[in-house]
Structures are given as structure tokens and as C-alpha cells.
């Protein structure tokens, strides 16, 4: 994902960062404005349009009836996919998902999976035979940095407002009633992404800042402040950086969780 940023601008970003300032006037640990619009797509079982400053991500959730995995007959399943749609950035190319799209999808997946946000046991229609399979599709519509956090907010908000019909199995026959229930969501994982430029950690980097990052770290917090997923991206970090990142992340994750809960009420 490379955007061309003029050297003079890169130097300027570094220079003002030394006095703890950023191009858009934010302080180092401040998010851009976050907007969440749930139920954006009528044909999806659940969806959310999220904007994080100029970064825009649309997440749709679809549910299908399928067979459970052989090693977990008593659980439904979910699949997370991310598309870096070419209309979102001059650096996105058409074609199958590249390593950045795959990494994005897998990090969001990991947060949801390891916080056990979805109660998969409640997605069973008949054990060993039929279960609900939930597809979480992340569509990046405008890339202005920090796709991880925008996608995570979108994915979780979309799950929270997803409704699936009641399905029953009678012998071999499946009947789907026109009665809709909420997805069993029991946790809200929140990812917090920080970038490191020189020796400063900055929250929610925009694309110009991402271009000169030395390293990036995404930490996923679940309720009770547990850490359920971490991914270091790009260059090296120190132990001190990580401790600081967790410190900042804990507070912010509570704020964002509250924001998501408010938005889907």
C-alpha cells in the first residue's frame, strides 16, 4: 500500500511531531472523528458504514445455512473477508486479495474469534448436520489510513445489528420462519492501532503518516480489558513501546466500545 508523499511533506510531519503536533491538529493520542451508521445495506442481515476521518469502510454480514466443520459439529462458523476495492485508493489494484487484504481480514477475524464475540454454539440448527455460517465482508471504500480500526468497528457494529431468521430442522427438512432474532454477540472486541515515527507513538495514523511509519502495532482488547489479539506490522519496536501502547489502548478501547454500543442501540 504505497501512496506517494513528497519528501518535503514527510520531513514536515516528522518535524512538527517533535513538538507533539500532527498535520491535522490532533494530539498524539487522539482519534479522528468516528461515525458509525448501522444497517446501511437493506439486503444484508446486518451492516455498518464507518468513517474514521476520511477512511471509509462498509461491512456487510450475510448468514447462510451450511454444514459444520467436522471437528466442531456443535458450533456454527464465521468467515471474515476483506476487499481493498480499487475505487478506494490509487494504490489498490483489482484482482484477488493481496497480502494486505488478507492480513486485515485475519486480524479482524482473530479479534472476534479469540474474544468469543460470537456465541457459535447458539448458531447450531441441528448438531453435526446444519448450522448457521456467518460471512463478515469488509469493503474498504476510501483509504486514508488505519484500516484496521475502521474495519473492526464496522465488523463489530455490523454483527451487533445482525438479525437472522429462526430455522428448524424436522427430519431432513429445514424450515426457515419469518421470525428474526439477534445474533448471539457476547463480547465487543476493539482494536487500537498505533504507529511509531522516530520515537513517538501516534494513535490512528492517517495515510501520509503511515507512509513514514517505522512500525505499527494493533492490539485488540475485549471486555474486562483482556488482550485477545496483537499484530506488529512493518518495522521493529521495543518493550517500552509496547507497554506504552497498551497503556494508551486500554483507555481508548473502553471509549470506542461505548461508542459502538451507543451507535447500534
Amino acid at each position: 500500500m504505497s501512496e506517494i508523499v513528497a519528501t518535503i511533506r514527510k520531513n514536515y510531519i516528522r518535524k512538527i511531531l517533535r513538538s507533539n503536533k500532527r498535520m491535522d491538529g490532533r494530539n498524539l493520542t487522539e482519534y479522528r472523528e468516528i461515525k458509525i451508521e448501522p444497517n446501511f445495506i437493506k439486503n444484508a442481515e446486518g451492516s455498518a458504514m464507518v468513517s474514521l476521518g476520511n477512511t471509509q469502510v462498509l461491512v456487510g454480514v450475510k448468514a447462510e445455512i451450511g454444514e459444520p466443520y467436522p471437528d466442531s459439529p456443535d458450533k456454527g462458523a464465521f468467515i471474515t473477508n476483506a476487499e481493498l476495492v480499487p475505487l478506494a485508493s490509487p494504490s489498490f489494484e483489482p484482482g484477488p486479495p493481496d497480502e494486505n487484504a488478507i492480513e486485515l481480514a485475519r486480524i479482524i477475524d482473530r479479534g472476534i474469534r479469540h474474544s468469543e464475540a460470537l456465541d457459535l454454539k447458539k448458531l447450531v440448527i441441528q448438531e453435526g448436520k446444519k448450522v448457521w455460517i456467518i460471512f463478515i465482508d469488509i469493503h474498504v471504500l476510501n483509504h486514508d489510513g488505519n484500516l484496521f480500526d475502521a474495519s473492526n468497528i464496522g465488523a463489530v457494529a455490523a454483527l451487533l445489528c445482525t438479525k437472522i431468521p429462526v430455522a428448524k430442522m424436522d427430519g431432513e427438512e429445514i424450515t426457515v420462519e419469518n421470525k428474526w432474532v439477534k445474533l448471539p454477540v457476547k463480547n465487543i472486541p476493539v482494536t487500537i492501532t498505533l504507529g511509531k515515527i522516530d520515537d513517538k507513538l501516534i494513535l490512528d495514523p492517517v495515510i501520509e503518516e503511515e507512509e513514514i511509519l517505522d512500525a505499527k502495532i494493533t492490539i485488540c482488547f475485549e471486555k474486562n480489558d483482556l488482550i485477545c489479539a496483537v499484530q506488529k506490522i512493518h518495522g521493529p519496536l521495543t518493550t517500552e513501546d509496547l507497554e506504552e501502547a497498551i497503556e494508551i489502548g486500554l483507555d481508548k478501547s473502553r471509549e470506542i466500545r461505548k461508542m459502538i454500543e451507543e451507535a447500534v442501540k
Partner: protein, 249 residues
């Protein structure tokens, strides 16, 4: 051992604090490393880490194809992590890399790159191939450990080696170097790679459930583990020049 016969053990740590393979909580599995085992490659390593068997090979710096991938100011490091079909209990279908392999190839590249003087060879490529012949938990860290020595063996100028190992949470305890059962049934897994001289962290992933304190102690344990790996890597490189001829088998 085929996966047909595998079942979840009742306890992963027994009442004496021993793990399922008899190790203490902070003990690494036995590690053996041979350097220079593949004659065609510029650098190569064969690593046995517990039941893991890993080959790493380095080609380059060399001309880059396709040409448009060349970078004007530095070499392009390309990594490919792949698992052989027979490396896992269930056969792994060969073919284009799956999503896991693509992600691992990316994080492995980012773990190795900071240790290399990439600006020494503009417009070229360095290819790193990691082939997992037998997997038993912790293949990415084994792959990084082997690949970094293979890079050194290829004579590529480096700032440091990269040493990697994983830590995890098993039966509520933080343990070093997860085996496959602990990886599968434990509560969390955290692979870490560092550049040992300055203790810079070049790979960090985590999944599972860790409190903040657990995370801190796990990270410290991982760094200590990496330092032990570092000694083994150094010794392997020194051995390379002591012995006249090293064969794969």
C-alpha cells in the same frame, strides 16, 4: 501420528508442573541446526526444533524478475513460507498459498528485513524460502530462526541475527515454546522475534486471552527464550566453518 488418533488431553500441565512432553514451564524443546545443507542455494539451514523439521534457503542478491518490482534504493526482500503436503496430520493440499501462508510470509519478511542492510543492493532481490517439512507448533518462529541464519550463510551483510520463539498460556500458566497440543488446546499463543543485540522486537503476534500482567511476563519470557535461541544460532554458524563438509543427511 495421524490425526485420527488425536484427542484432547485432560491436563496439559501435571501436578508436578511438568508439561505433556515432560518439559518444565520455561524449557525449550531440543534444537538442532545445520548450516549450508543445500548446495544450490547461496545460504541454507536445516533446523529441527522438537518435532518441527524446517528447511530455509536464501537466493540472492540477484537480478529481479519481473523487472518492475525492482526498488531504486534498496533490495527487495521476498519471503515464501510454505508447508509440505505431508507436514501436517491432515494432508495439506498443495497449490497456491492459503491465507495463513500469505500472512505468515508477510510477517516473516517484516521480521527479517530490519536486520538486513537492504540499501546495499539496490534494484536486486533476495529470496527467502521456508519449507516446513514436519510441523509441530511454532513453525513460523522456527522458520524465522532458520531463515536468519541462512541469510548470514549467504553472506548478506546484516546488523544482527533474528531469533524467534513462541510463548503461550496453558492451563492458566505462561509457558515457553508451545508444542502442537499446547498450541491447539491452550488458551493463548504469542510468537515473538527479536534482534538480540538491541532487543528490538521485529515480530509480535498474539491470539488468545491475556491480562496486561500476563502479557508483560509473557513478553519477557519470550525475549529470554530468544536469547537462548540466539546462542544456538551463533554456534551453528561457527560450526559451519569448523567442519569441512555438511550434508543434509
Amino acid at each position: 501420528m495421524s490425526y485420527f488418533f488425536r484427542k484432547e488431553p485432560e491436563k496439559l500441565i501435571d501436578e508436578n508442573g511438568k508439561r505433556i512432553d515432560g518439559r518444565d514451564l520455561y524449557e525449550l524443546r531440543p534444537i538442532k541446526m545445520k548450516v549450508g545443507v543445500l548446495k544450490n542455494a547461496n545460504g541454507s539451514v536445516y533446523l529441527e526444533w522438537g518435532e518441527n523439521k524446517v528447511l530455509a534457503a536464501v537466493y540472492g542478491p540477484k537480478e529481479i524478475h519481473p523487472k518492475h518490482l525492482s526498488l531504486p534504493t534498496k533490495t527487495r526482500l521476498r519471503c515464501k513460507y510454505s508447508m509440505s503436503p505431508f507436514s501436517t496430520p491432515e494432508r495439506k493440499k498443495p497449490g497456491p498459498p492459503d491465507r495463513r501462508s500469505i500472512e505468515l510470509s508477510k510477517v516473516i519478511r517484516e521480521a527479517l528485513e530490519p536486520a538486513i542492510f537492504i540499501e546495499k543492493y539496490p534494484k536486486t532481490a533476495i529470496d527467502v524460502f521456508i519449507e516446513i517439512l514436519q510441523s509441530a507448533g511454532g513453525t513460523r518462529t522456527a522458520g524465522i530462526t532458520a531463515a536468519s541464519v541462512a541469510l548470514a550463510d549467504a553472506g548478506i551483510p546484516m546488523k544482527d541475527l533474528v531469533s524467534a520463539c513462541s510463548v503461550g498460556k496453558v492451563d492458566g500458566k505462561i509457558v515457553l515454546d508451545l508444542n502442537s497440543l499446547e498450541d491447539m488446546y491452550g488458551e493463548g499463543d504469542m510468537p515473538v522475534a527479536i534482534m538480540p543485540r538491541k532487543k528490538k522486537i521485529t515480530l509480535l503476534q498474539l491470539d488468545g486471552n491475556f491480562t496486561r500482567e500476563e502479557f508483560k511476563s509473557a513478553l519477557k519470557l519470550a525475549i529470554d527464550g530468544c536469547m537462548k535461541i540466539y546462542e544456538i544460532q551463533r554456534e551453528a554458524i561457527l560450526n559451519r566453518y569448523k567442519e569441512q563438509k555438511i550434508d543434509l543427511i
